[in-house]
Each structure stands twice: as C-alpha cells, then as structure tokens.
C-alpha cells in the first residue's frame, strides 16, 4: 500500500463527507450530519496516515524529508488543516452546517492534488535551496494560515446565502447559525489565518536571509503574500476600529481568499523563486 493510493482514496472519503453535510443541510436531518462528522474524522485519520507513510517512504528512498516540499504535498497538508479546523469549529459551536462548504473545499483541494494530471505525486529529493530546517516551519505555518482563510471564506459564503435567503424559521437554512454568529466566526478564522500567515511570512524571511542573504526580495510570491496580508489587515482594522460587520466583512474575506488562491497557484505563472510550487 503506498501513500499516494491511500490519499487518493481519502479524497473520496472527504467527498462523501461533503455530500453528507449537504444532505444534512438540505433535508434538515441530523443523522447524515452526524455521519458526516464521523466520516470526516475517518478521512482525517487516513490523511495523517498518508502523510506519515509518505514521510517514511521518502526515507526508504534514501533522501528522507518532511512531505511539505512540492505542490502535491502542500495540497495534502492544506486539506488536512482545513478539515481539522472545521471539525474543531463544529464541535466547539455545536453546529454542522458550518462545515458544508469547508468540506467541499477540502474535497476540491484533495481532488486537485490526486487527480490532476499536471501534478506529480512522486517523492522527489530536495534541491539545495530547500534543504533547511525552516522548510517545515515555513510551509506548516503558511498553510495553517491559508486553511484559516479558507474556512473564513466558506463561512462568508454561508453568511451571504443566509443573509439573502435563509432568515425564515422553517427554510432550508434554518439550522444555519444566525448571521451575527457567522460574522463572528469569520472574524475568528481571519484572526487565526492572519496570525499564521504572519508567522509564515516571517519564517520565510528568516529562511531567505539564511539562504540568499536577504530577508525580503520582492519576489512575486513574497509580494503576493504581502498583498494578501494587507487585505486581511484591512478586514481586521475595519472590523475592530470602524465596526464594520456582515456583508462588507464577508466581501473582504472572499476577496482575501482569492488573493490567497493567487498567491498559491497564480504566482507560478509569474517569474520567481518559489518554482517548486509549480505544476510540472
């Protein structure tokens, strides 16, 4: 059994969880929701197993390194981080509807990694620039940050749907928490994401300083992560200092996440240092 196969299977387990969440939301039934949580936890276990196995496999191939070194591996970790976050919120706030869109994002990320012909799931040895202890800290924190923003994005979408159509007592969205709660949750997730994105940028800077002798070089990926940071900084200031709530915060959160996606994928079409994130 090899890790890529396990992870391909896990993709569909996440997909199944997503379908169950959707069923639970649409038919307002509790059972599919409970099952969805259970299936997600199974998927998370499989996801972690896959990552650990991949780590072991890389050592068996003679050039062991943490599985955080290319687009495939980062997508797998990204999915895990989102799944853990949404399950955490679900348990803490005792509401499963929040997970509906997040689980869809996890499925998409996993499916992209496992099924896209452009993404190689081969374990490759590290090129000299990536051989650093900062690799793990940098990638881990960046993707925790991205995961926070992804969940914030999913909640913002739910917020907009609830706000426009689902305020009635018996409608499809009656199980969805009230908009104030969703707004607060978006804020929480953005703070989580911002915290880890900041650490991600900082660890990246420290790493760059030890590899190339400069902590900031206006490389497109660096610049785009800073643009993302600015957008979420706007959200935080507008909410905390100007008291913005609701629609406007949800919109900034959605814009912010598109910046995240561009930082993640789009930058590979621009010239720069982070080529290992590219589609081979």
């Amino acid at each position: 059994m090899n890790s890529s196969i396990i992870l391909s299977v896990i993709t569909f387990v996440y997909g199944f969880a997503g379908v169950l969440y959707m069923v639970s939301l649409v038919f307002k039934k509790d059972f599919p929701g409970k099952l969805a949580s259970l299936v997600t936890m199974v998927a998370i276990t499989g996801n972690i197993t896959g990552i650990i196995l991949r780590w072991i496999e890389s050592y068996k191939m003679g050039f062991g390194h943490a599985p955080l070194s290319n687009l495939y591996e980062s997508l797998i970790f990204f999915s895990l981080a989102i799944a853990c976050l949404y399950i955490f919120i679900e348990i803490r706030y005792k509401n499963r509807t929040i997970s509906t869109f997040s689980s869809a994002l996890v499925f998409l990320a996993m499916a992209y990694a496992s099924l896209s012909p452009g993404i190689s799931d081969h374990i490759q040895p590290l090129i000299p620039a990536l051989k650093s202890n900062w690799l793990i800290a940098h990638v881990l924190t960046c993707f925790l940050g991205y995961a926070g923003f992804a969940v914030a994005f999913a909640i913002s979408i739910l917020f907009l749907i609830k706000k426009t159509g689902g305020q009635s007592e018996e409608g499809m969205l009656s199980h969805v928490p009230d908009p104030d709660m969703l707004d607060e949750l978006t804020h929480q997730m953005v703070m989580f994401g911002f915290f880890f994105l900041s650490i991600g940028i900082i660890t990246g800077a420290v790493w760059a300083n030890s590899a190339w002798g400069r902590y900031w070089g206006w490389d497109p990926k660096e610049t785009w992560s800073l643009i993302t940071w600015f957008i979420y900084a706007i959200l935080l200031h507008a909410r905390m200092m100007r008291g913005w709530r609701g629609n406007r915060i949800a919109m900034i959160s959605i814009i912010g996440f598109t910046a995240v996606i561009f930082t993640y994928f789009g930058v590979n079409y621009l010239p720069g240092l982070h080529s290992y994130g590219s589609i081979q």
């Binding site: 650093s132 911002f194 030890s210 900031w216 785009w224 800073l226 600015f230 706007i234």
Partner: protein, 572 residues
Amino acid sequence: MNKKQNQSRFGDLVWKFFASVHLTIITFLSLAATSIIGTIVPQNGNPDFYFHKYGEMLYKIFFAFDLFDMYHSWWFRFLISILVLNIIVCSIDKLSATWKIIFPGKPPVFKNKIKNSSIRSEFVTETPPEKLEALFQKIVGNRYRYAALEKTETGFLLFAEKGRWTRMGVYAVHLSVVLLLIGSLLGSLFGFDGSVTIPEGESTNQILLQDSSRVLNLDFQIRCDDFSVSFYDSGAPKEFRSALTLLKDNKPIITKDIIVNDPLRYEGINLFQSNYGKLPPRNITLVLQDRKTGDEQVRKTAQLGEKIMLPDNQGEFILTDFSDQFHFKGRNIGDAFTGTLFLRDKGTFEVLIPYPFPKIDFQTPDDLQKIDALQTQSTGSLPDRIPLSVTSVNTGMVYTLNSALGETQTIPEGLGRFTLQEFQRSYNFKGHSIGDAFIGKFLDPDGTEQTVILPIEFSQFDRMRKGKVIIAIADLQQESIPSNLIVSVADFQEHYYTGLQVTKDPGVWVVYMGFIMMILGCYVTFFLSHQQVCIEAIRKGEQTVISISGTANKNKFNVQKKIDGLSMLLKR
C-alpha cells in the same frame, strides 16, 4: 480668531488626518493594489528588454513612474512613509485612552458598564449573601487576577478581571511594523548587497554591488579552495559546496565549507553560495590514434590553447575551445572540446571532440567511427551547382533548381526570384550553431527583399519565414577527405568558479526583533482579551438572586460561555 488658535486648529486637523483608520485602510489598499504592478512588470531588467516588450510609449510612461524598480520608487516609499506616520500617530492617539484603562490606579473601571452588560446569567439560591462572600471570592480569585468585593445594602457586588495588559498587544504589533522599517532603513543605509565570482584556487577582495554596479573592496581576501557539485540520479542538483578561506595580510583567518542555507559569517559580512559555473578544464589528456590501425600515436597532457607537435613532423594540433553545453545538430551533447588539426600533407581539420564518447568504450571500432564522423572535415569542395528545392505553398508543387553561387533564378508560378549568395560553415542562428548553411536573397513579386537562410541539416528551416515559397537545399553531396588521425580526450580536470552573494546588513537584528514582537503582539491581540465580570448578590426575602454579568474587549461569544461556566461553578 487669533493666529495661534488657527495654527492649533490646523495642527489638530493634521493630527486627526494621520490618526484616522480611514487613512490606514486607504494606505493598505493602495499598497496592495500598486504592489501587483511589480509582480507583472519584471523588475530591474535592462532597458532594451523593456523597450522591446512595451514599445516606446509605455516604456516612457513606466520609466517616469519608476515601474521597473517600483518597490524602491519615490511614490512607493511615500506610501510606506504615510503608513508609518499613520501607525505612530494613531497609536499615540489611542494609547492615551488605553493607558487610562490599564493604569487607572485601582481597578476595575467602568463598573456600570460591566454590571449592565447584556452578556449575563442569573440564578437563585437560598443561602444568604454573607455566607456566599468568602466562597465566591475564592472561586473568582482562582480564575481572575484581580477581585474586589463591595458591600451593598441588600448584598454585595464582586468585581473581577484579568488580562488588562493584553490591551497593549496591538501597540506591540504596530511598533513591530515600525521596527521592521527602521531595520530595513538601517540595512539600506549602512549595509550592502553584492556578488563575486571566484575561480577555484584564486582569491579576491572585490565585490560587485548589486544596485549600483560599483566595486567594493573588502578588507580581507576571499579564496575559493575548492568547489564541488553533486547531482541526484534524476539529474536534479543535490549540493553546491564551496571551500572558502578568508585571508588577512595573506594569513588565513577562517576556513569553512559553505553550502546553500549554510553561509559563512565574518565580522558582520555574510558569504552565501549563490551559483557556479564551469571554466575551461585543465590538464587535458589527449590521445591521437591512427585511423586505420587504431594505434596510439600521441598521448599527452595539454592545456587549452597549447600547441602539440605531432611525431615525424606530420603537423600540429591545438585545442581551441571547450563548452559544457555543446550544441551539435541542434542537440545538446554536453561537454565537448574543439580543436584544430593541421596535417602537413592533407590540410587543416576542425575537429570536435565530445568528451563522453571515447569514455564509454574507447576501443571499439564503432565508437571510433562515431568520433571519426565528427572529425571528417569537408574541405570546402562544394559542387559547382547547388540543387535547390522550391515548394509553392499555394499549389503544393515542388520545383528543383540548380544554382551556382551568385546566380539569380526565377521561381515558377511567378512567385519571385532567388539569388544564392554565399556559403557559411557553422552558421550562428540566435546563438546556436545550425551547421553549414547557404544564405540567399528572395525577391518577392511585390518588390520586397528577404534574406533566406538554408542550413544543409535542416530542410524545413525556411518554413519559419512563413512565405509563399519554401526554399531548401535539396541533396548536397559534399566531398570529404578524412584525416589519418583521430583525436580524443581520455581525461581532464574540471575547473569551476563559485558565485557568492556577499552581504552586510546591520539592520537585520532590528528586523528580527520586529518579527518576534509581531508574532507575540498578534497572539496577544487575537487570542487574549481583557475580561471583566461582576457578580451581584441581592437578598430578596428568603432568596438571594445572583446575577453574573461580564464583558471583554473582544470575542464576545466566548464571554457568554465563560459567564455560563462561572455560573455553573458558583451554583454548586
């Protein structure tokens, strides 16, 4: 209104302008939006490149706005200055209010605000207030840093709070941004960023600065003792390693092997492994063999450019050049030497010596033949008339013409005229040798003239011109005379140079302090809060009504959870 009032009013306005969160949001927005430009327009390229890419008009506009180095332009720096000013003024402005909350003498403040908070929980008990006092104080005291009891006519009020200092977190974040910018300013004022390339075995103290292209002399010498590169089986690079020695007054001070991610640091100056390259190799072992018998006639170690006399006064041989990426017939064959073999009775031969071939299996006749094929030099004896094939794109007809150099031929179908002008050995097309080629001139019926290149190896080459006719050399028989010696290289010593990044940045510690402060500040600001609770006990007849209310400066949802939890605890 007198003048003084006027001035202070103006001052107030300026202060308010820089203290506003609107300004923060607008500045962030401008920085985010303009930063995108620099990720689309390549930065710090050379003017030719930009001129070609954008045309004259855009080039002038982009140039005027410094878009080719926009992150160091006056207007981008101006935006950053606004941000810094905004952060400082805004922080000072808010700090005075925060200060009063944090150090008001005796906490807590705003008692009514806590007492009347909408986040609350209530329960009723029969125990009289006096008996609850000590118990409540103990429970609350365990969970909150500060607790104070006030007696009232019908019971008591218990105020408690913690995390008052967390209100400072946001100022730490703001200060951290200022530190980052001070650090980067220190770096650009008192530091430098340069590069140097050093061949193995040599030393230098001259650094080429990145931004100004000036040369900087270090007060020590950097010597590259050795460079090595290793690869994975896949061909991807595994490690670049330079053995460096720093010398002062010709005495070694430090010796260290540096690799990527592990630089050498000395007196605030850092040396990073950044690139490498191959230099012409040294001590090349040449072998010259007889074409027919394979007998070794000469084996000699030579340097590039060194003349070797052949035995029996046959002639001489000289190695002229080396490339680690030699292009032969459009294919990169890797390491290869070129040389000139002069044989007294046969003439001059340009020879190509690919290095791996003789090494694979030196002695088999097959390999000898392969090298032989590369070294059989056609000596310019072209036929008098060159066969040309001309294809009409419209009709698909192919015509064969025979033309001598300098002759003008008329192409059928009224497609124009063609003149074969000259012949060149190893024609250089956009930096690549495309082998022997003819060059001609095509005259279109509409009067335009085009130069046509006809490489012998590539019959489809003229398709690139996208004209109405495709011209090619049809089938050329070149007469060739083989040399009676075959030259190969048995061994050589690699010679590399190492490319180092040399930097000095005295501001980096300020920046790192900023980093740490930002992480801590963000943590405090986002995840900790100033929490205050008020527990009110009122005796109403036989019962005591306990109401717990609370507030926090952020995350109000959690406050309710905490209050509920506290309520559960007190009930017991």
